[in-house]
């Protein structure tokens, strides 16, 4: 009798876990779709809010916070008033750090760190360029070290070099090989699950078109 009860209870328990897990995936997919298809501050903010809520309720998943950070970086680029942009970048840092705490030494999170620093630099390139450039590049290098198959680590490293003048160690000459490598890696990239990071390919192609001319 006891046995039955135990089996029964444990199956109920695992079922509810499964249910929770599938609703997590579903919620994530919805938010990712909203993030991917919208280019307005409004919907990116909605997506960011969704990711934040998901992240808070599941606690040990890094992906919601990671995407949340991504949304805030994108909002920053859409905002016109300079002085508010830093606030959104601050938010991106906050959430990416949460992701980092849950999943340390994660290549994707290091790409995001560099991506955020790029955003920070972009607000005031003249005065921040010198300072953030090397930090930014070290993040991408670390991301490559952690997972040499991560195409985004090469793509954003390349973007950084394209945007930096040659006297600061940038330039097309140095960036192009990295961009090619990124495209190669995108070809063979194995997506871990349907909600894992899978962005940047279109941008990489655009960059390739722009600089291969």
């Amino acid at each position: 009798m006891k046995q039955y009860l135990l089996i029964f209870l444990s199956s109920v328990f695992s079922l509810s876990l499964l249910a929770q897990n599938s609703s997590y995936i579903k919620a994530m997919k919805n938010a990712i779709t909203m993030m991917d298809t919208s280019s307005s501050i409004e919907y990116l903010q909605f997506a960011a809010n969704d990711f934040e809520r998901i992240g808070n309720s599941v606690e040990d998943e890094w992906l919601p916070y990671y995407y949340c950070a991504y949304c805030y970086v994108q909002i920053n680029y859409l905002i016109k008033t300079d002085k508010k942009r830093d606030l959104y970048v601050d938010k991106a840092v906050e959430f990416n750090n949460k992701a980092d705490n849950i999943s340390p030494d994660n290549s994707e999170i290091y790409v995001m760190k560099g991506f955020i620093l790029q955003a920070r630099m972009n607000i005031e390139p003249m005065t921040r360029g010198m300072r953030y450039n090397s930090q930014c590049i070290s993040m991408f290098k670390k991301a490559q070290e952690l997972n040499s198959e991560n195409p985004r680590s090469y793509l954003w490293h390349a973007v950084q070099l394209f945007n930096m003048p040659t006297f600061m160690g940038g330039g097309t000459e140095k960036a192009s090989p990295l961009l090619n490598k990124a495209l190669e890696k995108y070809e063979i990239f194995q997506l871990e699950s349907e909600i894992h990071p899978n962005w940047g390919l279109n941008y990489a192609k655009k960059m390739f078109e722009k600089y291969s001319k």
């Binding site: 009798m1 009860l5 029964f8 209870l9 109920v12 609703s23 997590y24 919620a27 409004e42 903010q45 909605f46 809010n49 969704d50 934040e52 809520r53 998901i54 808070n56 309720s57 300079d82 002085k83 508010k84 830093d86 606030l87 959104y88 938010k91 003249m126 005065t127 921040r128 010198m130 300072r131 090397s134 930090q135 070290s138 003048p165 040659t166 006297f167 600061m168 160690g169």
Partner: protein, 704 residues
Amino acid sequence: MKKILILFVLITIASITCNAQTTITGKIITKKGEPVMFANIAIKGSFDGTSSNLDGEFSFITSKNGEQIIMVSCIGYQAIEKAILLNEPIVQLDIILKPSVSEIDAVYITAGAFEASEEKRAVNMKSTDIGTTAGALGNIIGAIETLPGTQTVGESNGLFVRGGSGSESKIIIDEMVVMNPYYSPVPDIKQRGRFDPFMFSGMIFSSGGYSALYGQALSSTLILKSKGLADSTNTGGGIHLYGTNVFHTHRWENTSLYTGISYNNFQPYHYLFNIDKYNKSTENTCGKIIFRQKISDNGLFKFYSNISKTELGVDFEEISNPDEKYSFSLENKNLYINSSYREFFKDEKWSLFVGFSYSKDKDNAYLDTVNMSEDEEMMQSKIIVTNNSLSNVTMKVGGEIQSFDVSGKMDNSEGVIEDLFCAGFFEVDWIISQKLATRTGVRYEYSDYLLKWNIAPRLSIAYKVASNSQVSFAFGKFYQTPEKDFLYYSDNKYDYENADHYILNYQWMNNKRIFRIELYDKEYNDLIKDIPDVQNTYNNSGTGYARGIDIFWRDEKTIPLADYWISYSYLDTKRDYRDFPKEAVPDFAAKHNLSFVYKHWVGLINSMVGFSYSYSSGRPYYDPNRPENEFHTDYTKEYHNLDINISKITKLFNRRTVIYSSLRNVLGNEHIFGYHYLPDGNSRIPISPVSKRSFFIGLFISTY
């Protein structure tokens, strides 16, 4: 039995899964009733929630019921949590959010303070602005002298602020005071600061009313914050008209180490430009170590050490006979160590700072055949505990101990000063509302040498009058131990010299443009004064005042890729101190001061081109031919100076290279800072710079 049990379990499960749903609907608003859009509304511990729309309205369905906690957050507002009872199909919920005081919109204390930073955004300057100002030549003090409230004094060391002398300003690095921030003084020749501006990430230049964390400066403090871990491994060096340097920085994961040496010798320069004032051109050798160790996530240990040796010799004209010269020679050895540890504890409610610094400075000088030597040693330790557990309140409490050991010799007479100086301080920063902020502090000091204590209150208030402008007020009392020249005569009993500051400031800041105007009044008391007719006896009966207006305008917006600022200061000051026969304007004070700094990035040649112009009205000088009641009534001629500089960024051997050149006093204006009179008053010689113009060119290369 079995059946009943299964039935019971099934019912339980059903009741868990098929419970009633609740719709929560409402509006998020501010206190004033304005809608808050894009707020995030969530039920704690579940996916359930939504965002508010453009009108601040929201609605969502939840399967939770009973008592739940609802969380609302939005960028720019303080997040809140609220208990809510879900027992009806529709629950109405309106929530009021309070704006959070963000760094950008916040009201902040500006009276008396100019801040430069890399990290903070609501500042007047960026750290890099300091190093790239024309004429400053990488000398921090040179750049500060383009800010309002300062005075260009070309013949002696120190920052002269608002009618204060050079010794009334202190330089503080990582919370600790620097005993010898400048190269040793040479009569009539201003010396450079010892510190490279690029080693700092932040700076607060206070022209009055500064924080209770610091003391012993009647007029001003320049508070510098050194950089943290080095960004990356880097090797480099430079060669310039005055010398050469090499350095290597190594960066590990949590550690960085910089080692560098530099050697300067002005002989080629003096030869090339025919400067014959020196009988021994300045020669300087310097070694530097900067070590950083990350101890924990938010804990950093810093160590800085600088050791240097300088030699030089100067010929001065004999006033009575211009063909004859007398010589001055100086050898200086200096060691400086500054180490500190700062930790932000978990959840950043508490932080701790512990610092230790050591300074040793040996001067050995000859004025003709008269030997003068001075040996100074200082140790300082400081502790600061910061608490942030109340929102919008930051409390700082701490103390410091400084021990001085100074001995001076001149020919056969000798003086020794030993002092153990202690201070304690407490300061509260309270952001009362988005519009109103206060800083209240008190500082206690005791000097073992003077056997006297003092208590100095400090207060600053800032009020935001409009979204881009604010008014601040500061008051403070400031004490300083009399200069060591007087302390040598230890049979005199002294008290601290002191000054009261009253500052009223208005600041407007919008879109890369800043306008500031500041009115101040500084009342000096207990200044050192000669007792007439008895040599080397002094008391504290001197007084003085300084009043004026400082105006600052900076614009980084109007001209693309250009940045300029204008500072103007009006100063009304008089003192009756030292050997003054009556109240008079001191010889370092000019009534009008103006600076104009312009920088332009020229992309075509990858260069930053800049110039700076400064003007001062004449300063009084002492003419012994005048009767006592006409003391300091003669004025030097006006001071005009134009400096230009170009720094070109390029690549050499595929390495990042900067070529820097500057020319001081382009127009060749004559600079006279005062006169030396022969005791009989018949002849005089002007005090002016060693050369009319000065030129610098250098090439700096690094692997990163």
